[in-house]
């Protein structure tokens, strides 16, 4: 049993941190957010050069075959630097291809940083249920035809390829009948509306209207992609949890610094016992969230799907709760400065809030945890 990162892992994350500190500081990030595209190609290329895009890709496709634990270290740095580049969207998308052993060519391009991916899984009525799909896919002579609307596709407009969930049969919430497709957004019939999300990232609503896809577009198998979708979304959740841990660590450090320097009534406000205990509570929440994120990462590829679901949902619940508590309290402890856009504190809080709203919030994962066969089975 060993809870330390290996020396190799540590060096890798250190190099990312050094890069972010020099090249992706708070001011640079702000300029990127308010730029035309909302992302930075320069930053992306640097990230690819650091090996970040290659990390989880299998060795056969030019990657380092990094595990979910390896990715946890990287995502913590993404969180710490409040990175708004389409790293999560691309790595999440790549996992669909890696897990289904398909589209090796695309994975190669991901590893090298040549392309970005996005996952179009949400629909207006689906909330957090990824099986709640009305987008339809039907086979025809040339392959498949795709019809439907996807919402809040993270970095949908910045991606060169989309992973799209669609339904070939069965009712709108059945696990049966779900397919995953790799779609080029420049195809006829694809319309993308790009917008900013409240944390400074980009997202889009995407319409697919009689989009003709080739037979090779399929990921996994037609109509039986639910297990794949469920497993890979757990992988995505794990990445988000790790990002949130990075946010929380940085936010607690910033708040602690503020408490030590901000003077009121002739003393640093960190001398007030109520604020000391608040910080202790925040630290405890962080510790618990970190522990479950580590557990989720170590189970992200577990052969036992129930074990994986349990650990991942537990982590998302705790990260959601901890993120809200730490975010709200950090803002409160910063006083007036906390509610301005001028300090990083507010931005960590915003990112923590959106992470809770992505791939299932606290209540969604709590309900999923309760529904697992393990829960009501008293030993």
């Amino acid at each position: 049993m060993d809870f330390e990162y290996s020396q190799e892992q540590q060096q890798f994350t250190d190099s990312i941190r050094r890069w972010a500190e020099s090249n992706y500081d708070f001011e640079s990030r702000k300029q990127i957010i308010y730029s035309d595209t909302g992302v930075s190609n320069k930053a992306w290329n640097a990230m690819a050069e650091l090996g970040m895009t290659a990390l989880p890709v299998p060795e056969e496709q030019g990657g380092f075959a990094g595990s979910a634990v390896d990715m946890m270290g990287v995502m913590q740095e993404i969180g710490r630097s409040l990175c708004v580049e389409p790293y999560f969207a691309t790595m999440f998308g790549a996992e669909f291809l890696a897990a289904s052993h398909s589209h090796a060519d695309v994975l190669e391009q991901v590893a090298s940083g040549e392309i970005k991916l996005a996952c179009a899984l949400n629909e207006k009525q689906s909330r957090y249920e990824l099986n709640n799909i009305t987008t339809s896919v039907t086979a025809n002579a040339s392959g498949f035809v795709l019809n439907g609307n996807k919402t809040t596709v993270l970095h949908g407009a910045q991606a060169q390829l989309l992973i799209v969930s669609a339904r070939s049969n069965a009712a709108s919430r059945a696990a049966d009948g779900i397919s995953l497709l790799l779609v080029d957004p420049s195809l006829a019939g694809v319309t993308i509306k790009n917008y900013r999300t409240l944390d400074g990232l980009q997202a889009s609503d995407i319409e697919f209207k009689n989009v003709q896809l080739s037979t090779g577009s399929i990921i996994g198998e037609m109509g039986t992609a639910w297990e794949l979708l469920d497993a890979v979304s757990d992988y995505g959740v794990t990445l988000l949890c790790a990002e949130a841990v990075g946010c929380m660590e940085a936010l607690i450090a910033a708040t602690l610094e503020y408490l030590k320097t901000r003077q009121q009534f002739g003393t640093p406000i960190g001398k007030f016992q109520v604020l000391q205990h608040r910080m202790a509570d925040m630290l405890i929440e962080l510790e618990q969230a970190k522990s479950l994120t580590t557990l989720a990462a170590s189970k992200a590829h577990a052969s036992d799907a129930q074990e994986r679901r349990k650990a991942v949902s537990a982590a998302k619940v705790k990260v959601g709760q901890a993120g809200k508590f730490i975010g709200q309290q950090a803002v409160q402890l910063h006083g007036g400065m906390g509610v301005t856009n001028e300090l990083a504190a507010a931005h960590y809080f915003k990112r923590l809030t959106t992470i809770d709203l992505t791939l299932g919030d606290v209540d969604h994962h709590l309900a999923r945890f309760i529904a697992l066969p393990d829960f009501a089975k008293a030993a």
Binding site: Q264, G338, T340, T353, D361, D363
Partner: protein, 398 residues
């Protein structure tokens, strides 16, 4: 003991409702009900409608042009106008500087300023906080040095709400730097057009321009603008802080937001059913509603004794804490109900400058911003931590 409103009060409520139905402009109401941002003109238009009705100074004595309402009537107005979705009357002129001018200002100041506050001719802002002084207000550093018929003011104020629209600012300034903290402070009224004043926006975490920094660089202020005596400003400021604090619970607005939350949660789907039908979510809403019911009774208790004793005491701290906790929780549950629909963010839409055309829907779009914006309520007006200090010291004697 009788928790019912008197027939006269009920009649007054009917009158208020009728007035609101007939006079609250639909476009302004729409913005308030839907969490959109109010422009300067929205505030002014509503203020002038109220001025015409004679209802601006609802806590003012009749002699100064006030309504002379009882505390219960004032409460009814607060509740009904909040419920209907009318903007709050901005407090800086009407509820903050005016009582000080009435109590400590001279006749000339009263004659000049009070009618202009009622009519809306002057937009006021408040110059109390400074970068170094948050909860520790008395540590303020802005200096005013006497030079003949003028004070020369140098320094910086911050968190100045809507100063970008303001005509006038009331300031606490240090006139005697040798005196101990509270002792050397004076209360000055300053025309915002005076040379040497610079206003710099502070953008809030929901990207709204709501507060500002105000810089004073050798600003010459006539001595006639001093309220009361020099170095007595802390006394006046304290009077102001103790004045009429029951409005802070803002029951009417919270009732309106609770209605919004329920309506919204009935429309939002979870597992193909309204999220309000989810027992776990419903329990959160019910707990909040129960808390609000309790606060309303607590408020009425304070209101009903307001005339009888020397103004609300530390009970106001309870109203502040619970009131803001409820407000914050309402916005939190709205965002929770919105789920992924809460992610898209479009400041231009929030300002009514463009249509909101993405999938999230018009009702969901402003909710994240509202949630973030409301985090300020537990910080301003004496943070909730400061309020608990007050309760511990003044109510519990600890």
């Amino acid at each position: 003991m009788d928790l019912n409103y008197s027939p006269q009060d009920e009649q007054f409520r009917a009158e208020v409702r009728q007035f609101l139905t007939q006079n609250l402009p639909a476009d302004i109401q729409h913005k308030v009900l839907n969490h959109l941002r109010l422009e300067k003109d929205d505030h002014l238009r509503w203020h002038k409608i109220l001025a015409k009705q004679g209802w601006v100074g609802n806590a003012w004595p009749v002699e100064f042009g006030g309504t002379g309402w009882t505390p219960v009537q004032r409460h009814i107005w607060n509740e009904e106008s909040g419920l209907a979705g009318s903007p709050r009357i901005l407090p800086f002129g009407v509820s903050m500087v005016a009582p000080v001018i009435m109590k400590f200002g001279n006749k000339a100041q009263q004659d000049y300023y009070l009618p202009r506050i009622l009519s809306g001719e002057d937009w006021w802002c408040q110059g109390y906080s400074e970068p170094g002084s948050g909860s520790d207000l008395a540590s303020l550093k802005t200096r005013a040095e006497r030079d003949g018929d003028y004070y020369v003011v140098n320094g910086q104020k911050t968190w100045t709400t809507l100063a970008q629209h303001a005509d006038t600012i009331f300031c606490l300034v240090r006139t005697d730097p040798t005196a101990r903290k509270q002792a050397g402070i004076s209360f000055l009224l300053i025309d915002m057009k005076t040379p040497g004043i610079t206003v710099r926006p502070i953008i809030m975490l929901d990207e709204e321009h709501e507060v500002n920094e105000v810089f004073f660089d050798n600003v010459k202020v006539p001595v006639a603008n001093l309220i009361g005596e020099e170095n007595m400003g802390w006394t006046y400021a304290k009077y102001l802080l103790g004045h009429e604090r029951t409005g802070i619970a803002d029951i009417g607005s919270s009732k309106r937001e609770l209605n919004f939350l329920k309506k919204f949660a009935l429309a939002q789907q979870k597992n193909d059913a309204p999220i309000l039908a989810d027992p776990h979510f419903a329990a959160k809403v019910a707990n909040l509603e129960i808390d609000l019911m309790a606060l309303e009774v607590t408020l009425l208790k304070v209101v009903s004794t307001e005339g009888k004793q020397k103004g609300p005491g530390p009970e106001a701290s309870i109203l502040k804490i619970k009131g803001t906790e409820i407000q914050q929780k309402l916005t939190e549950l709205m965002l929770e109900a919105a789920g992924p629909a809460g992610l898209p963010f479009d400041p231009a839409y929030l300002s009514g400058k463009q249509a909101h055309s993405i999938s999230a829907g018009d009702d969901a779009a402003p909710l994240a911003g509202t949630y973030f914006n409301f985090r300020k309520t537990s910080i301003y007006g004496g943070s909730n931590e400061i309020q608990k200090n007050i309760i511990a010291q003044m109510m519990l004697g600890l």
